[in-house]
Assembly symmetry: none
């Protein structure tokens, strides 16, 4: 089946936001085996939206519209869709209740325009929005499927995963099965080179690589008549990838993130963790704590940005700061040591670096980061050079810190096993 | 004049890459005062590209095509454009020379398909590519302007800045000027209701609202013959907005984020800050530290996730935890107090809440968050109810914490002024 994506929003036409929704939806649809030949963007304009939707319905089986479901006068997606499909807009009582509840629990007044969000083309399947007030909708007419989704990614993605993905899966005959092999600490082009022969020879399953900050995901996708058959096609390819990437693979489970794999490792080995951050400013602790169940292993997080706090909080020596500077191997080590004493955690990670845009020098350029990891007294410090803007450097540092933790914990566990 | 963007590339349709080029070009065109009503994406398919380009030429004055200028058989943009415009493809001697030179200086062999990149529709204005082998092109025909740009952002952007921007500036008379009024602590639909009459009456300048987590941005845009005139049109509208939103406006500077406005307030008043986080896990400190210059005011960040650490780190009373629970007004207050004693900061913010998905109860549902703010001994704790997934609740908490800090610091400063 052929799917087409229409993004509705003047803010995209004005370049105020990057259309990440289209990329997300396109990737999901491709994963489902749906063909996508066109994506388009139109503004909050009834006539132009109408023309675009009509054309999409002529050439595609499924049309996914994102955005324009808000409470304001600008938001026209439902109105135009109803018109194009020749359906009336009627109030959905259930949605009205949900909107009321949503606003009330937040202590907000329901304004008149909020009720607009409870309207739907008659006969539409209503999809509850668990993260906002605009419900999603599926409308089936004359063999076509029109899907309306809210614009904010934090509302659209959970809704797509929970309700739209299963709906589309049923429309598309045959089964698509994917397994993602997640690798950390290996660059994308190196990873691609390592599997160049496999990619050249691929047909079914296919292998696609996706670069994430500090990670590469290798997705193996097979199409078959049953899930069992598809799994059978995927299995030997995943095995081959495991042979090639070995310990760099942290999971083959879609749900498991790098931080979850670290928290799982800590839990499994009865270890606790603390963080000592400078340039990452709390992003590392935030990623660890975002893992449900992290409270069992997470002792404390400390953020020290100034030299003074590094001395007072972690007991970093004045001499070390003066001789080597705050961004140095020695200070990274002392930060980890100090945080270990403070919190009595088994594993402590420290991050100190220059995220830019200022503060770099020829000797210590922007992007230079030291990450220390101490596991029960044994410590390792590594030097990294990251490229990109402030945010990118901070994120790359967090991913590298998680990768280093994983490495050090695995090393510690294998030493312990060996000693036993 | 009306501009339309067409992105050519199967990798965008598959969701393998995010279409950042479209956002960049859209923003540049908007800045030039060009109207953009449509953006579209088509794959590397001659027939579909032809249809898309023909339609774009019917409804727009300027069509910018990005991608599909590479050396492979898949790359069809030039071929299709020449066909649609009824022009022959001819070899451009200058481009041929440049390609040869580019490849030679990099020690690369020129393969037969590289010469394809020297072809251009006859009469095209050739734009040198200083970062790759595919030249850009401008083709003028029957009052329409077709611009072909290479796909890689590192080639496209410098080419656009150097050659296309000046070309478009000459096509488009007049100037666009915008000012953004940023509001925190007011929901989008309430904000819209507050300025409904202004939006209804708008023509030039226009007012557009953009919702961010915990914030609303109101952008006022005017078009005039000179920047001076455009500014003059914008000024009274911004003044009116200031009157309506008062203290909820934290800035009218595009570059200033909520966290920067807080750091600026701290700096201006000689105050230092520390954070005591539970459910946000370091996200609040990370946002503050992301402001260049935050090191001057940021003393320390503490993350305590477990009750035990709350007691040990902040001296939260065992009795308070048992009687009221970790997510309570009392504990938020004690966390702030403890962090203030530990770090000796003037301003301390604490966050404790239930980010979910687990841990909620009827009495204390997921999304319940207490935020405390202590300014030189005086403390305030507020209760919030956020909806959404774990990430959304955490982000909303951080924005609310920044908003509360701003409020408390402003209050403190006005009290001090009053006392003086």
């Amino acid at each position: 089946m052929v799917v087409e994506l229409i993004s509705v929003g003047t803010e995209i036409l004005l370049g105020n936001i990057v259309n990440t929704n289209a990329a997300y939806l396109a990737e999901q649809c491709a994963g489902l085996g749906l063909s996508c030949y066109y994506q388009s963007v139109v503004g909050d304009n009834a006539e132009r939206l109408q023309g675009t939707l009509q054309m999409a319905l002529e050439r595609s089986d499924i049309v996914i519209l994102g955005g324009g479901l808000g409470p304001t006068q600008d938001d026209l997606t439902k109105e135009v869709t109803a018109k194009v499909l020749g359906l009336k807009l009627v109030e959905d009582g259930h949605s009205r209740e949900r909107i009321k509840e949503y606003m009330e629990t937040r202590g907000l007044d329901v304004t008149e325009n909020n009720w607009k969000q409870a309207l739907a083309p008659e006969g539409a399947i209503i999809i509850d929005n668990e993260n906002g007030t605009a419900p999603g909708m599926i409308i089936e007419k004359d063999g076509k499927h029109v899907i309306l989704l809210p614009g904010p990614p934090g509302e659209m993605r959970p809704m797509f995963e929970k309700s739209i993905f299963p709906y589309l899966s049923e429309l598309q005959p045959g089964v698509i099965y994917s397994k993602t092999v997640k690798v950390c600490g290996v660059g994308e082009s190196i990873a691609e080179t390592m599997i160049k022969d496999m990619i050249a020879a691929q047909s079914n399953p296919t292998i696609a690589t996706y670069a994430k900050t500090g990670e590469v995901h290798l997705r193996v996708t097979a199409k078959a008549e049953s899930e069992k058959e598809a799994r059978k096609l995927v299995k030997p390819v995943v095995k081959e990838l495991k042979g090639r990437f070995g310990n760099s693979i942290y999971t083959t489970d879609t749900e498991v993130t790098l931080e979850k794999s670290v928290v799982d490792l800590l839990t499994a080995n009865g270890l606790t963790v603390s963080t000592a951050e400078s340039c990452t400013g709390g992003l590392l602790s935030a990623r660890l704590i975002n893992v449900p169940g992290a409270s069992e292993v997470f002792k404390a997080g400390y953020v020290s940005y100034s030299n003074k706090t590094k001395r007072k909080l972690f007991g970093v020596k004045r001499n070390s700061l003066e001789k080597y500077g705050a961004v140095s191997e020695v200070v990274a080590k002392e930060m980890a040591k100090g945080a270990a004493i403070l919190s009595k955690a088994d594993v402590v990670v420290s991050v100190t670096g220059i995220a830019g845009p200022d503060g770099g020098s020829e000797e210590k350029p922007v992007g230079l980061v030291y990450i220390g990891c101490q596991v029960r007294g044994e410590s390792v410090v590594k030097e990294y050079h990251f490229k990109g803007n402030r945010n990118k450097i901070r994120e790359a540092s967090v991913s590298a810190a998680l990768g280093l933790m994983r490495e050090c914990i695995l090393q510690y566990c294998s030493n312990v096993m060996f000693a036993e």
